[in-house]
Symmetry: none
DNA sequence: AATGAATGAGGGTTCATTCAT
DNA sequence: GATGAATGAACCCTCATTCAT
């Protein structure tokens, strides 16, 4: 990549980062192109030159965000922790990028996702889900996961949790309860003791 | 209440209902006062006469919505079902009002809530939470809930689920997995069988 | 029509007139909503309240213009002048409305017309053309028009002239040549004298 | 002309051609410098380097267009057809360049012309008009044109026609009526028969 | 009390043009 | 000499809100 292209990419990256920060703080709709331009120290038109429209900028920001997030997610698996610790980390690890995400921005991402935007879909289907499935299988092998449960159910279950953790308010409330929550997760609300039936 | 006041209340109610419907479908930001006025068959100014500002209207709509939702929530407890059935109903019952709620509107409500808006806070603290706590105690007495778990943790746990269920996409995906999800909820991912430790 | 409606119509008419004047002078594209608003002494938004979009305003201005023009056109027939005088008047009469029309505006009107916009089309097909045809028939009866010529051809022929007359530059150049032009129109370039073949 | 200059002229010509095509299709106002640059495979700035401003580019394009058109016009006279055939050809010949010209572009040219832009004016005054005058004189000599008519009047008359023919809609409507139109042109609407007075 | 009319502020977007390499 | 990058100004349009009747 020559100097021209590199500088272009750098500036694009600046704009993306500025937009990402603003979107995460205030949501997509509340942030105007003007604000992004100001924060990125460029003119509005420059943004249009690079991204063509606000909609497109939003797409690119999401891609940017998703791929950054992805690396952090993937790194969670790069260790030899025992299964329960992996799970704990997976749910409670505060990823650098993902925290403090404005709910509007979050919803926009979800809308993209459920609209089947290929980039996210592919990353999720081809990489994230298989990684999780593999983890569940490991848990089943080691006796930590009931082999009768379908991986899909467990995935949904985790998904719901992981998502809730992204919300700052919930995260803060739940942090002091980590142990209890982990217990419920593993042993259910009944606990490991004797069961009524 | 004399005729004047009654008509006034009726009109207010019309406006609230119109606004609620639109907010639930499209979110708060995407709905303009003009649209609400049109749907409610009044002029924009009438809305201002009654509600002073859009922000205030939103507050009132949320109050309206929360109280409607509350009756449905309360009614979930009016039965003699065994504990597990109550839980299932609690999580999976599609309340009439709450379903299909636009995520933007949902977030606005949540923001109100976490901002400590008194009305919601009070309803939640003084009515909803005690009702839930009572339920958990019942579960503990009957051996369905581990007595070592704090009620607060269980509450959070349920909260996360109940909230996820409000989202149409998640609800639809999870419905076919009801049994698995309930199993995880009660027995954890380990299941009721022998435990590794 | 009550006072409200009357005032509304009056204001609408103001805006239409302002827009018409500007369009005729500078063309549609060169005139901004802001300019129209300033000239009509209203805010831009008022124009949008009345006309919804610039496109729509243009439509309405054209309708307004066409109907005004129509009365003047129709009045040209309300007389007992001999056929040749009628023709002369028809071609050279400077209608109050039609003169000084900016060519861009003219083209926009023509585009509307050829797009088959119903209002203009109908006026033209059902009223203007029959009126002209009738005139040609009169001319044929009185020996002023060759009965072998199709009315359609004559219509086209006149149409071309009448249109050219609308253009200020042409009109001014042609005015001193009125007699010659009329002669050509009636007797052709060959003139009434003996013909070569 | 050395290689540098030749390449420069080639590029200029490319740009002119690209601009001309676009102007003829969409009009001057609707075509942006960016589009021209893209079509000509140069950068926007190159256009500015060569033509200084859009206005100036438009001038140059018109000059380019006029001179191309001129050759075609001139060639119409290079034959030994009898007078009536020459006239017919003159009016109905669809020149290669001139056809399908967007009306906006046409008007811009006309504005240039009536503004007395020297290049066009000169070509017109010194070349086109004399050529036409010569033709009329020929017609007069051969008895096809009434010697009492001033050449200026006939010129205007033809001008109006020729112009109308440039418009696609009119051209298409008039083509099937060629014979009638030619008859009117030569013998007037009265025709060659006996005259009423 | 209710409403039609009106608006200032701001949003996304486009364009002709200039800067800087 | 040629270009990618950048921009101020303007445009159409929307919205929450106020005015005037």
């Amino acid at each position: 990549m020559d100097g021209f292209k590199r500088r272009r990419e750098l500036k694009k990256s600046h704009i993306l980062q500025a937009a990402l920060t603003l979107f995460m703080d205030f949501g997509v709709q509340k942030v105007s192109i003007k604000e992004i331009a100001t924060k990125a120290n460029v003119s509005q038109v420059t943004i249009y030159n690079y991204f063509e429209s606000k909609n497109n900028l939003v797409h690119e920001v999401i891609k940017h965000y998703i791929s950054e997030t992805w690396w952090e997610f993937e790194s969670l698996f790069d260790n030899d922790l025992p299964f329960p610790e992996k799970i704990k980390k997976l749910i409670f690890a505060k990823t650098e990028t993902a925290q403090h995400i404005n709910s509007n921005f979050y919803n926009v991402i979800m809308k993209e996702y459920s609209a089947g935007i290929s980039y996210i879909e592919e990353l999720y289907q081809k990489k994230a889900i298989p990684k999780m499935m593999e983890l569940f299988e490991e848990g089943k092998r080691e006796g930590y996961v009931d082999p009768d449960l379908s991986n899909e159910s467990i995935l949904m279950y985790f998904h719901i949790f992981k998502e809730a953790m992204q919300r700052e308010d919930i995260y803060n409330k739940i942090l002091p309860m980590t142990e209890d929550i982990m217990k419920i997760l593993f042993y259910g609300i009944i606990g490991k003791g004797d069961h009524p039936n």
